[in-house]
């Protein structure tokens, strides 16, 4: 139990950080650059932590702490094999507070970023709920512990929902073309969007929370392949590579496009998959 808690709270974000580092390296290579070292994200976070601690107001600090706590808790709950829907709801506390923190700042960049982040949430949340519903329809339970009692991988029955995971991951991780609420580089029209007014240790906290979120989503993706967990890890990493590829070949699109894309393509894929499951049984 204690080992699991430690693994969830310490190792999982480290894995997330490594994936982000690999992402930066791979992205650089795709763009013909050499790229930063693999451990660069960790250097960044350490450096940010050593900076002066300043915020614009109290609510921003509260928001970032809640964001961090709920993201960490959702990963922990996953490793403790709790209820998937509960995990998603816990993650959504953090997502909501990230928006609240940005809205509490009277800067147009944070404000616009917050509005857009809300639209990102509106785009991926229903899809994420539907993924858990699909898993429930296959396994008869929302609990990860029950889901992990299966002897055949769910991917056989939920292939389309795995594609839905690609959309979710892109939107949640704010990868192009969904880097709408916070741009990767701070020299674009919304600066860093929802993250603009965080600095120093607080910015480091949002970064680590982001790693938690990343590993959470990848673990859910890996669950599709349980009990073949090696295949699960391979496909989760493949998912990351696909995301990086999409990230590099596409440019940012509009909120409206994202909403219609996730609702038309994402919901249709989920509907077909869940519909087939429903009528076949």
């Amino acid at each position: 139990m204690i080992l699991k808690v430690l693994f969830a709270l310490i190792c999982m974000p480290l894995i997330g950080g490594l994936i982000v580092g690999a992402d930066r390296k791979l992205t650089a290579r795709m763009q013909g650059r050499f790229g930063p070292p693999l451990l660069q994200p960790f250097y960044d976070v350490v450096k940010l932590c050593l900076k002066q601690r300043v915020s614009v107001n109290e609510f921003q600090v509260l928001s970032v702490f809640i964001y961090f706590a709920s993201s960490a808790l959702s990963v922990l709950l996953l490793l403790l094999r709790s209820d998937l829907l509960m995990i998603i709801f816990v993650m959504s506390i953090g997502a909501a507070f990230l928006v609240v923190g940005a809205m509490s700042v009277r800067s147009p960049y944070s404000q616009v970023g917050a509005q857009r982040e809300l639209m990102q949430m509106l785009s991926y949340e229903p899809l994420l709920i539907l993924v858990t519903v699909g898993m429930y329809l296959v396994t008869g339970s929302f609990k990860v512990s029950k889901i992990m009692m299966r002897s055949t991988p769910m991917i056989a029955e939920l292939p389309l929902l795995f594609f839905v995971m690609i959309i979710i991951l892109g939107i949640k991780m704010r990868k192009s073309p969904f880097d709408i609420s916070a741009s990767e580089h701070a020299h674009q029209e919304i600066v860093k969007g929802v993250l603009t007014d965080y600095s120093g240790p607080y910015l480091a906290m949002t970064e680590v929370a982001h790693w938690y979120d990343l590993t959470l989503l990848l673990s859910i993706a890996a669950l599709f392949f349980y009990p073949y967990w090696i295949w699960g890890i391979i496909s989760a990493l493949a998912l990351v590579v696909v995301e990086i590829l999409i990230d590099n070949v596409s440019a940012r699109l509009t909120v409206k496009w994202m909403l219609s894309y996730s609702y038309i393509v994402g919901i249709t894929l989920a509907a077909v998959n869940i519909g087939v499951l429903y009528f076949v049984r």
């Binding site: 609240v100 917050a114 509907a271």
Partner: protein
């Protein structure tokens, strides 16, 4: 038990009548406060006592049944009189359609409407009684402070507060009576009292807009009234009784199911479901305590209460399936409309409609756990929504606007009210608080029905959007903002807001206790099986579980971390604004022509063109009507 019932039902009515006649404000306040204390006490005693049923004998030499029949006739004639004096043809027709059939049915058909246990209190009634007696009465207290301000604002002279208080007191008495009545005739009578009270309250300000909204409320609720009368008559001839308990235990089919369907239709109008939702949106012209009452503990809750009450009769039928889809549709449609609003009261109104839709949907899902979730949502929604309405009313008096865009940075100007509003919003929006927990239960139980679960998934994502941005707006602050430490408001307003906000948080922490003590027995009494237990802060059901403590713990750690971090923080920075605020950028020269730059302005996304009420409402109404027709269609198939 008679004594507690007397206090719960008759005391508010009697004090209401006294309050109407006296002019002294002091005496009125004392009476209202005393009545509040007694009604709360009676509710505690009733909970303590548990289930009971009573035969109501006679008052003097008159049997109660006859008294109710006579009063019912008088009430019907009064509403008819109002309709005639309003010269509204539809209203006259609808009122006449209630009075005449009811009169003929009661007096000339020789129908035997006597039933043994006229008063029947089970856990569901007791839960409703707690909601009404605590939330409703706190709204009275709030009204004492609010109405004084309100009349000063609107320059009402002579004071009409005696009328106002009389009606809200009677309203609560009638609601308590409604939930304990076991005869359809009695329920119908109190149902009509709530309709009449809401008509009088919505029109209280006497402006043209208020009058129009009041008439609309009366009209739409009269449709429900006609459905109710038809249901009583059909139920009597098909099932042979107007005893609600007997109707529930009889396995209805065919025409008897039509009666149940009509009762549900009446409940839809009362709960302001699409397509009957217009009256609840109009109701916000009334003074805030009225909106709070209508939206939380009375009126709309009567509708969903009645559906949960009747749900065992059509559990698992095709009609239940269609109604659960209908509720789910209302949930998502009303949430969608709420996204497009910036008027705080309208957002709350749409949110009420959508939450009630979810309650109705859950009550009709083919799973007993969902019924428990419906009751749970009813409790938590009542507390948080009452709180939010009272907050918006207080804010409106403070800043003169109910537009959420004007509430930007309210925490600096009205720290107390803004904090309470934040609590209200968080308890509506986020886990581990009750409303979200109920939604979690509904999604898990609805998962077997793909269409429904799609609607609920989208609807709950929409809910997050319109509440989160409101939350963010309230909490906006920069280091150069002037802040007020202590907000001056009347104790009559401060007290109910404090109690309600503390209640909203505590009932969520004691959710397993409430679940085991009240909700589980309320469900198991009518359904043999319930796959839901609450223990040690964990809600376990057949397909999943939700543990509250880790979430509370994480939130606690976050608060503590924030506190420590702020204590040693080096200071506050300015937000990142490279030049936007600089005056010299305000004028630019293009091709030698000077042009003024517009002022910087940031607003929420409201999707004005896409989500306009005028454009969407007809379509939503059409789909909702089709679903209702479908619900009746599947009975006859």
């Amino acid at each position: 038990m008679q004594f507690e019932l007397f206090i719960a039902i008759f005391l508010p009515i009697i004090i209401g009548i006294i309050v109407y006649m006296i002019k002294s404000e002091k005496l009125r306040n004392i009476l209202v406060i005393a009545c509040t204390a007694l009604v709360m006490l009676s509710s505690v005693l009733i909970v303590h006592h548990g289930n009971f049923s009573l035969e109501m004998g006679q008052l003097g030499s008159l049997p109660w049944n006859s008294i109710i029949e006579v009063l019912d006739l008088a009430l019907g004639l009064f509403i008819l009189y109002i309709s005639i004096s309003l010269k509204n043809k539809n209203l006259i027709l609808l009122s006449a359609l209630q009075v005449l059939p009811m009169f003929i049915f009661e007096n000339f058909t020789g129908a035997n409407l006597e039933i043994n246990k006229v008063i029947y209190a089970d856990h569901l009634s007791i839960i409703m009684n707690i909601i009404i007696s605590f939330v409703g009465t706190l709204i009275w207290i709030f009204a004492i402070g609010y109405m004084k301000d309100d009349e000063e604002h609107k320059k009402v002279y002579p004071s009409r507060q005696n009328r106002f208080f009389a009606i809200i007191l009677v309203f609560i008495g009638a609601m308590n009576a409604l939930v304990f009545s076991n005869s359809l005739i009695w329920v119908y009578f109190f149902w009509e009292i709530t309709t009449l009270s809401s008509y009088l309250l919505i029109g209280h300000d006497g402006t043209e807009e208020a009058q129009e909204s009041a008439v609309r409320a009366l009209l739409l609720n009269s449709i429900g009234g006609v459905a109710f009368v038809a249901a009583i008559i059909i139920a009597y001839y098909q099932i042979g009784t107007v005893d609600i308990q007997k109707i529930i235990s009889s396995k209805s089919s065919g025409l008897a199911m039509v009666a149940i369907g009509l009762l549900c239709l009446a409940a839809f109008t009362k709960s302001a479901q699409i397509p009957f939702h217009k009256w609840l949106l109009g109701a916000m012209v009334a003074p805030t305590p009225v909106s709070a009452l209508l939206h939380s503990s009375t009126m709309v809750k009567a509708g969903v209460y009645f559906i949960i009450r009747l749900a065992p009769t059509f559990y698992g039928t095709r009609m239940a399936f269609v109604i659960s889809l209908y509720g789910g549709f209302t949930f998502v449609a009303a949430s969608l409309m709420a996204i497009g609003q910036s008027n705080g009261k309208k957002i709350l109104a749409y949110s009420t409609i959508s939450n009630l839709g979810l309650i109705i949907s859950a009550a009709c899902i083919d799973n007993t756990t969902a019924v428990a979730a419906a009751i749970m949502l009813m409790i938590f929604h009542a507390v948080s929504k009452a709180l939010l309405f009272l907050c918006v009313g207080t804010i409106e008096h403070g800043i003169g606007s109910r537009d959420i865009e004007d509430m930007r940075g309210l925490i600096n100007r009205m720290p107390f009210t803004a904090t309470i509003t934040v609590i209200g919003l968080v308890t509506m929006l986020l886990p581990p608080f009750g409303v979200l927990l109920s939604k979690w239960l509904v999604i898990e139980t609805a998962a077997k029905n793909p269409i429904l679960v799609f609607m609920i998934a989208i609807g709950s994502a929409l809910t997050v959007v319109y509440y989160t941005r409101w939350l963010g707006l309230l909490l906006s602050r920069s280091s150069d903002n002037e802040t007020i430490k202590y907000e001056k408001i009347s104790g009559y307003i401060r007290l109910p807001l404090t109690i309600l906000s503390v209640t909203a948080i505590t009932i969520s922490t004691f959710i397993t206790f409430i679940l085991n003590r009240l909700i589980v027995p309320a469900v198991t009494q009518y359904y043999n099986w319930l796959g839901l237990v609450g223990m040690e802060g964990t809600i376990e059901e057949t397909y999943g579980s939700f543990s509250l403590w880790p979430v509370f713990l994480a939130l606690g750690i976050a608060f503590a971390g924030c506190y420590i971090s702020l204590k040693s923080q080096s200071g506050f920075a300015h937000p990142y604004m490279p030049g936007e605020t600089s005056k010299s950028y305000k004028v630019i020269k293009i091709n030698g022509k000077e042009d003024a730059l517009p002022d910087l302005k940031v607003r929420n996304y409201y999707f004005g063109g896409l989500l306009s009420e005028e454009r969407l409402t007809p379509w939503l109404k059409l789909i909702a009507t089709a679903l209702i027709i479908c619900a009746f269609g599947v009975i006859l198939l």
